[in-house]
Homo-oligomer: 310 residues x 2
Amino acid sequence: MPASYAYLGPEGTFTEVALRTLPEAATRELIPYVSVQSALDAVRVGEAEAAFVPIENSVEGGITTTLDELVAGEPLMIYREVLLSITFALLVRPGTKLADIKSVSAHPAAQPQVRNWLRAHLPDAVWESAASNADAARLVQEGHYDAAFAGEFAAARYGLEALETGIHDAENAQTRFVLVGRPARPAAPTGADKTSVVLWQRDDHPGALRDLLGEFASRGINLMLLQSRPTGAGIGNYCFCIDAEGHIADRRVAEALMGLRRICLQVRFLGSYPRADIAPGEARPTPPGTSDEEFMAASDWVARCQDGRF
Amino acid sequence: MPASYAYLGPEGTFTEVALRTLPEAATRELIPYVSVQSALDAVRVGEAEAAFVPIENSVEGGITTTLDELVAGEPLMIYREVLLSITFALLVRPGTKLADIKSVSAHPAAQPQVRNWLRAHLPDAVWESAASNADAARLVQEGHYDAAFAGEFAAARYGLEALETGIHDAENAQTRFVLVGRPARPAAPTGADKTSVVLWQRDDHPGALRDLLGEFASRGINLMLLQSRPTGAGIGNYCFCIDAEGHIADRRVAEALMGLRRICLQVRFLGSYPRADIAPGEARPTPPGTSDEEFMAASDWVARCQDGRF
């Protein structure tokens, strides 16, 4: 398999910074792609070993391009996740003052994260969307716009200076990224893992979604993401992207997935991988009655009863 | 109250076409606004009686700008909804041929709806995002780009011609729009209504969301939309925008909302209004045990028991 990772480019964006926090990235060639779709396609056709793309953002929610790519097409699997705190710098050509700024640019995803700051500090500046924050910085360098919102790390690359740093409308603004590869045996549980699946309901009766969630709840499994995505069959037709606590090697998770496989029209397993938000030692214990030992003891007991050995 | 409706402009977009399907629009002045936010603000400050904005799309899902505006800030209420089938025309300056097209433009929301068509017919055309589809048409008229994806109705306004019509990647591509005003007594039930609410969980234990949905399910209420939106408190913190069958004047809906009010941290009522997807006569009957009469009979029975009259 080629020792390269595809990632959502260009260079000098938050995605590259997040990718470089992974130890395994140091031993791979990192290749920027122009879109989430093309990065994931590189994995599907075997051009890259894995792809690194944003999947969730604490301001905008699930990143729908990425979710929709994972929901459809050739199956892929999430191997790892990375959480990165996002704060923007206002990058300008050296010497530019705040009062000189008539136009600002960034990727559209940045806009809701800097909207309040803009209203307070540059209420009259015109917003011009760019293909990426790094591209916005390049356009400022070339004189098309007066300022770009981007990571402070992008200033040096484009000969700009950071007029302001630490810009973010919401406290704790974070983006979650995932490393996605072809289906394989998931890495062993760490004790603080999560499992991602996509669920399609069999039919749409009152309580249909509640019943799906019951497969997790009755086994003490907490959900960390529930994002509905249109199936394309018209308004009101959705599938559900779900992140749940635990690893598919945990009995409670395996049994929940079996239950879902029985009652759903379709279930797509997207992987079990270590959580980026907490260390293994910090994971809360499984609720009473949901440990692997308790599942096995219960299974043994039923087998004994079936044998007349109770 | 001023007899005007604000809507997401500019003129000549699908939003205006959808708005003009409402009989009440004929007696109002219709004023385009540059953004969903500014249209809703016009209602909040009393500049407009109501605002008309897109809220859900069968390709992209919930329109997050609109949902986030309804979730936060001064409360607003949905009065009406409109469903519009969306197909695009490829608008060009008269005489342009498909082979001449090097650049195409449209609002970013159009992109996932024409992506497959583009790949098949114009694989090498450069995509340039515009502030709206109508704006893209104007930019084509002015010679900035070669073609725009917009409603066929926009061709005449901008002196363009439709090289192709009926372009849509997904069958049944529809957008749902809502007419939003200040809180007031909802219009009387029609027999085919829906109720919109936003729910914030009190805490995050296994089954927390299942419990919320149980308030609907146990009363036979089907859900038509469940869209999670970040609360801004960091990754994994979501509130839930829900559309449910029925009207707040229906006993089953009123009791579900009471239950949610008890168990949620916060509930925001966004209105009860007629469904646009079916006529009142086509609504499916409420499940056994969930009619107003059955709720009243059950309540009477408990009261009699409490009185010793059973």
